[in-house]
């Protein structure tokens, strides 16, 4: 066995260019598997992370209320009362669609105006920079107060401090700015961006909207363990009200992440499969070279057989040679693949790390290729008739 390894290495070294070209196939195949799998899972992993930042506990409810069938804030708060252990926080979100906000004489055209409860800040995981958040009293008392995003404060008032306790007019009605939220996204600090918003108590917002319905709710579960139960209970409740599942939708972030993870798995497997084809081609290359090697060494095989080498010994020699060739190729492929993954990841700004399973898989596959594609040539060699083999020059 050890002898076979020595012989294999000797044989590989004695034909350096040919061995290198054969290995190149394996190297490319293995590197391709590692790069594709690692980049994709790195990229998708980042998407998952983004969802997680938005809050794994977050569950959003959309409905299309009508006069005959609708739900309101009382229904949702009642649902919370029924399941106090599941739910951590809840806020209706009422979008003021056709409202006109004015700061002095400036129009805030792009600013999103949303009616929310005092829990909204926690659900969004935002923090107050100046002043305070909305409180229950604002909601219950339908106070004309608002909390604004830092883009609004900076653009129209100069700074958070200056904006504080100033006023904004919404549909002609003055709202006192009681708080300014910290900047959330420096990269998106622009008109219509993440920080271009105004929050007012949802009770005020529903009055300002003509129909007075609350179409959206957002809540945080206490634990993602309850996601499915909450989703089911909500869907049951909404189904009882609306009788038509096209009129409502419950979306849990954790379910989305779960689905996303499943898609990542499928996509990665698919890409690994495609890259695997190049490994297959490389395997055929190994077989080709081994067949040539056997033909070239017919005389050697004849001598060995004449001197008493059994079929198994000859076979082992060639299978090991093929396996060693492809294993060396595999090791180089892993090194190059890992290096390329890091470099590409750095260029694309993705946290791409060669995944352990991609490395193990491609290494295993490259060894297996050597064994499988070395088998046929080795068998040919083992079965050579020593007389015919000795006759070859």
């Amino acid at each position: 066995m050890l002898q076979s390894f020595k012989l294999a290495i000797k044989a590989i070294l004695s034909n350096k260019i040919r061995s290198a070209l054969t290995m190149l196939g394996i190297i490319i195949g293995v590197a391709a598997v590692i790069i594709l799998v690692s980049i994709v899972s790195g990229y998708m992993g980042q998407m998952v992370e983004q969802f997680e930042e938005m809050g794994v506990n977050k569950i959003t409810i959309f409905c299309r209320n009508m006069n005959t069938r609708h739900i309101d804030d009382d229904d949702m708060y009642k649902f919370w009362d029924e399941h106090p252990t599941w739910i951590d926080s809840l806020s209706p979100t009422v979008t003021l669609s056709s409202a006109i906000a004015k700061s002095g004489s400036d129009n805030l055209d792009s600013t999103t105006i949303t009616g929310v409860s005092e829990d909204y800040l926690d659900i969004m995981k935002y923090k107050v920079e100046e002043g305070r958040n909305l409180v229950y009293a604002d909601v219950a008392g339908r106070s004309s107060v608002c909390v604004i995003g830092s883009y609004v404060a900076n653009t129209f008032y100069g700074s958070a401090e200056k904006a504080y306790e100033d006023t904004i007019k919404i549909n002609g009605k003055p709202f006192t700015i009681v708080g300014v939220i910290e900047t959330q996204d420096e990269d998106n600090f622009e008109e219509g961006g993440t920080d271009d918003f105004i929050w007012i108590p949802y009770t005020v917002a529903t009055k300002m909207n003509r129909n007075g319905f609350i179409n959206n709710f957002v809540m945080n579960s206490t634990d993602t363990l309850y996601t499915e139960e909450i989703t089911e209970a909500l869907e049951e409740k909404l189904s009882n009200v609306f009788k038509n599942d096209r009129l409502y939708n419950v979306m849990a972030n954790s379910s989305i992440i779960k689905q996303l993870n499943q898609s990542i798995g499928t996509l990665t497997a698919m890409l690994a499969g495609i890259a695997g084809i190049s490994l297959l081609v490389a395997g055929i290359g190994v077989m080709n070279i081994m067949l040539v090697s056997v033909t070239e060494r017919t005389r050697e095989i004849g001598i060995r057989k004449a001197l008493g080498a059994r079929q198994g010994v000859i076979m082992q020699q060639f299978v090991i040679e093929a396996a060693v060739t492809s294993t060396i190729g595999g090791v180089f492929g892993i090194a190059i693949g890992a290096f390329a993954t890091k470099s590409i990841g750095a260029v694309m700004d993705i946290k791409a790390n060669p995944t352990v399973w991609a490395v193990l898989l491609s290494f295993g596959v490259s060894v297996a290729i050597g064994l499988i594609f070395g088998y046929l040539p080795a068998k040919n060699a083992a079965r050579l008739n020593p007389i015919d083999a000795l006759r070859v020059d």
């Binding site: 002898q3 000797k10 004695s14 005389r299 050697e300 004849g302 001598i303 060995r304 057989k305 004449a306 001197l307 008493g308 080498a309 059994r310 079929q311 198994g312 010994v313 079965r383 020593p386 007389i387 000795l390």
Partner: protein
């Protein structure tokens, strides 16, 4: 131990060439005892190489029996033949058939390796064998660093390494000049005098006469089997 070392009975080797059957060996009967030095001589195409392959357990007869050391090889499998070649026969080839990428020591070790002998013992035996042919100091060199005569001596060392019952030499001087040929033949004689059984295949009557007994093959049949002197007389060759 009255059994002959080689006992070939009614051996035929028939090849099919198109629609024709070619009798390469046509009812061969041959016994060779331990300690003999026999030449098998014949022209090219006479069937002597076929007979050598049978004797060397490289091939099986189409019909008939071949007992080597009392064991019937005609029904053996490929691996069994490999084992019996390994343990009983030392081959000396015309083209030496050394492996160019192995050192002399490694070349001589080969039959021992296939016999499953451990590294240390292998090394000792191979060196012993190399010293018998006077090439011990060159053990770490490669075959292409040696002259033809030296290479043939290495191949003899390899044949001797496993202490086989039979040395089978196929045109051992075919690739050598007359002086080196003489050296090799003298060495074979010396081995014979030490008790080794030697069968030498050749097309050259003068070389055949170096043995003690001559078997002449013609058209697949044995047409002469006797001692060297009567062979020389019968075929009018100057000894």
């Amino acid at each position: 131990m009255s059994d002959p070392l080689i006992d070939i009975r009614n051996e035929y080797k028939i090849y099919i060439m198109g629609n024709e059957q070619v009798y390469a060996n046509d009812n061969i009967n041959l016994k060779i005892d331990r300690g003999e030095f026999v030449s098998i001589v014949g022209k090219s195409g006479s069937g002597k190489s076929t007979l050598m392959n049978i004797i060397g357990a490289l091939d099986k007869p189409t019909s008939g029996k071949y007992f080597l050391n009392g064991r019937d090889t005609s029904t053996m499998s490929d691996d069994e033949l490999a084992d019996i070649r390994n343990k009983t026969i030392g081959f000396i080839f015309q083209q030496y058939n050394l492996l160019p990428k192995l050192t002399l020591l490694e070349n001589v070790e080969l039959p021992l390796l296939y016999a499953g002998i451990k590294v240390k013992e292998r090394r000792i035996k191979a060196l012993e064998s190399l010293s018998k042919v006077g090439l011990k100091e060159k053990y770490n060199q490669y075959p292409n660093q040696l002259s033809g005569g030296q290479q043939q001596r290495v191949s003899i060392a390899r044949a001797l390494a496993g202490s086989p019952s039979l040395l089978l030499a196929d045109e051992p001087t075919g690739a050598l000049d007359s002086k080196t040929s003489g050296d090799v033949l003298n060495f074979l004689k010396k081995l014979h005098s030490e008790g080794n059984t030697i069968v030498m295949i050749t097309h050259d009557n003068a070389i055949a006469l170096e043995a003690k007994r001559v078997v002449r093959i013609h058209d697949g049949k044995i047409i002469f089997d006797g001692d060297t002197e009567s062979y020389a007389t019968e075929f009018q060759i100057s000894h």
